[in-house]
Amino acid sequence: MDDPLLAADAADESAGDLAMENVMKALAISCLLALAAASLAAQDAAVEQALDALAQKYTEAWKAGDPAGCASIYSDDADVVDFMGMSAKGKAAIQESLTKTLGTYPGTSIQLVRTGIHPVSADVVVSDGTWEITGAAQAADGAPTKGFYTVVAAKQGDAWQLVAGRTKVAPATN
């Protein structure tokens, strides 16, 4: 190795090996990141799908005037606070409250439009959106027909359920 040319070759070879190793490491990290991103995307899609299914169940039950169907998307210990600040704790109380609500808006449909999902953990998400009631021929006097909602959904076993629901209406502007 006294020959300077040989020494230079060896150094080049060593640098080349190092560069190749770095490229392989970078590729491996990129693959892992891509896999993680794909996994998260798949998880997000699954959550969105689950929330869409719950919303569909709710809107269909609403249209059918079925408070038990509407309440079925909630967990047994869920709670709801409506736009007047009234709360209902537990699925049975939620169903009772929905019976009154559906009585206020007979023969109507409700449209739910999700505006965002905020994952809090792998199995708890907060979802926000808007609600609008249409076809209200005779809604109770002064009852609002649109507003906002926030729900907290949690995965119980393999299924997603709502553990909390909050509705509000935009304050009147003068």
């Binding site: 736009f83 007047m84 505006t115 953990s121 926000d128 926030t150």
Partner: protein
């Protein structure tokens, strides 16, 4: 002699030691999660009364969000701080806050849903007129990170009055 034996027996039972005073300790019981959340709410109340947007931001996680009373989303700690900065320079200027917790529910050991009411006293309209006391409700979803409870989502609301009231 019998008295002496009785005395000796009593001393033997007591270990021949005078009763030790209760152990003095400076350690305090660790705060429960509920107490920690209540303390955080106190910090929030103080930060609003001090018009300290930075202190409010510090109570939120980086990726938090706030949907305000009008339904507008503010996403991220910086945006929430900015929102409160605007409020403190506008309608909240000089206002004093009072927060009451109505319920704390743990949906997971490290995730809680907090419901409560708020009162803001001393708010002014854009015309500079006093607005009196403004009362509303709020729901926060808080998470425990590194031993600290932080707000992940905040949803304040001005409840609509029931028709006819």
């Amino acid at each position: 002699m019998r008295r002496i034996l009785l005395l000796l027996s009593a001393l033997a039972v007591s270990g021949c030691q005078p009763a030790a005073p209760p152990e003095q300790t400076t350690e305090t019981a660790p705060m429960s999660d509920e107490d920690m959340i209540r303390a955080r709410t106190g910090e929030f109340e103080q930060a609003v009364s001090n018009a300290d947007a930075k202190a409010i931001g510090a109570l939120f996680v980086e990726d938090s969000d706030l949907v305000d009373q009008a339904g507008t989303m503010h996403h991220g700690r910086a945006a929430i701080e900015e929102r409160y900065r605007e409020l403190f320079e506008g309608p909240y200027k000089g206002a004093q806050a009072r927060l009451e917790i109505e319920s704390i529910r743990f949906v997971r050991p490290d995730i809680a849903i907090l419901d409560g009411t708020y009162e803001l006293n001393g708010m002014t309209s854009t015309d500079g007129l006093p607005l009196g006391i403004v009362k509303g409700t709020y729901t926060n979803i808080s998470v425990k990170e590194n031993g600290q409870w932080m707000i992940h989502c905040s949803r304040p609301m001005l409840p609509m009055k029931a028709p006819g009231t």
